[in-house]
């Protein structure tokens, strides 16, 4: 019984947890808006003004594009990953472990599965909000091709679900909040660097390129790039399927590890 998957415990009531998090988010919305607003400007300043002068143009899918246009979609993908992953690790961990918010919720008709689903959907929502703000900023510079670029928004929800779920699994298994350094060092930072973000995957030696193509962020970056450049090729279907399947397979794992952790 203990730690068994109880997916049928999920009800639409998970929306109540989402609403609670929205309310708390709105309290300091200015701070929450500030980061995704400024972050792209910092990156664009560093890479657009600094690095671009060194690198100039990049070969991508047989086309020459400016370096800044190359990395802008990657910045969007990284934002999706960071916002959902950090929400469902640090923020969820604080609510679960320090604030005992989940314990209080479990004395109401909510199930543990409702709570976890609500948290992950909220993580994905944060990914959408941050991505939307960033999209507006980079659009001003003309780095995004519209209307295709708008597809980034539904993608940020899907990507947020997938990476938030990964974060929630770590929240379920790591003993203390300091241990999050481990998945960040082993999982998040390597992806940040090697997922076709700042240079094309093709620049890596064969074996490294194979590893890189298997990383989830690589697929998210590819999708963002396809949408932002307006190049909807058939192979984006594979990347969408990758992210979707990743979520579908890992979500039950998140439910199981959280049940093991909290129900005894």
């Amino acid at each position: 019984m203990r730690g068994a998957l109880q997916i049928t415990n999920i009800s639409w009531r998970f929306i109540r947890i989402w609403q609670r998090n929205v309310l708390v988010y709105r309290k300091i919305w200015l701070v929450n808006f500030f980061v995704p607003l400024l972050e792209p400007l910092l990156f664009l300043a560093a890479f657009g003004l600094g690095m671009s002068a060194l690198i100039g143009r990049v070969q991508y899918h047989g086309e020459e594009i400016s370096y800044i246009v190359f990395i802008t979609p990657a910045l969007l993908a990284i934002t999706m990953m960071y916002n959902s992953f950090f929400e469902n690790t640090y923020a969820s961990f604080v609510r679960m472990y320090y604030q005992k918010t989940f314990d209080a919720m479990m004395a109401t008709p909510l199930s543990l599965e409702d709570i976890i689903a609500g948290e992950i959907v909220w993580g994905a929502t944060k990914s959408v909000i941050a991505t939307a703000i960033m999209l507006v900023v980079v659009s001003f510079f003309g780095f995004v091709y519209f209307p295709h670029g708008l597809l980034v928004l539904p993608l940020s929800f899907l990507g947020g679900l997938a990476f938030g779920t990964v974060g929630m699994i770590f929240t379920g298994i790591l003993a203390t909040i300091d241990m999050f350094n481990l998945p960040i060092f082993l999982f998040i930072t390597p992806m940040f660097l090697f997922s076709g973000t700042f240079f094309p995957v093709s620049a890596l030696p064969g074996w490294a390129g194979t590893i890189s193509s298997a990383l989830p962020l690589t697929h998210l970056v590819d999708l963002c790039r396809a949408f932002c450049l307006g190049e909807l090729t058939p192979d984006i279907g594979w990347s969408i399927a990758y992210i979707g399947i990743m979520f579908v397979l890992l979500f039950p794992v998140a439910l199981i590890v959280m049940r093991r952790r909290l129900i005894n």
Binding site: L23, T108, S111, I263
Partner: protein, 307 residues
Amino acid sequence: MADNARHIIQAKELRKNFGSFPAVDGISFHLTSGECLGLLGPNGAGKTSTIRMVYGFSPMTSGRLEVFGLDVKTRWRQIKSRIGVCQQENNLDPDLTVLQNLEIFARYFNIARKESRARALELLKFIALESRKDDKVTSLSGGMMRRLVLARALINNPELLILDEPTTGLDPQARHQVWERLELLQASGLSILLTTHYMDEASRLCERLIIMDHGKILVEGEPAELIRSYAGDHVVEIVNPGPDIKEFVDAHDFLHDSLNHRMIIYGREDDRLFDLIGEKFCRQTCIKRLATLEDVFLRLTGRELRE
């Protein structure tokens, strides 16, 4: 069937193991509509494990448990929507204000937004915290937080209120404030299940008590009846008792406990021999008092320290 309907809680051979350790070791009890039932016991007796199973927080290992005549294994969502729970820890939501703590909690029960606000304000009045409604919960005193936790447990107009050590860690003023509210709720006919290790709390609030230890029920009954059966009416405590009193007590077969430097003797009302103890042997410090629930508790669960 009619009898079962009056039973708010019905537990049969309820068991909870943590690994191979039996935290709750096959207990059976019931709670009748409108009554306040107290679970007493030292730390680690299994009180909290028991009530956690009742409010569906913790799955039972074996046995049968019904709340409102519904099986907790399958009908937990309905049951949880009809009970109010004050957990041991003050797990108020520190990200929210006092009022929002109640409103958002009401939303977890699917109470409509407008009604949530109305009930929240009404309950703030009940716990006398209206003036603090927009404050952060972290700015409240321990007693205020406890009252707010109590108000939060009442947000869904529960038919059963579960309180896990409602006044632990509070100063006397704050405890009495909480008790007053609980007595009002009791008078309105609310069924209450309470755990505590404060004997005054148990005897003041509860009509019926269960004393537990090591996961088992030791005794069950009304407070006055328990005191009479396990500690008599009066108690004489003698500090540094001499050999003569020991002999006297043994000769007359008095119910007593011999501690290191103290002897506690339990006696009945109108017992001439017992009265004689006071007259004959009280050369040194000697205290005669009424028997209390604490005597019962210590006699049944022992005097050694727990974890």
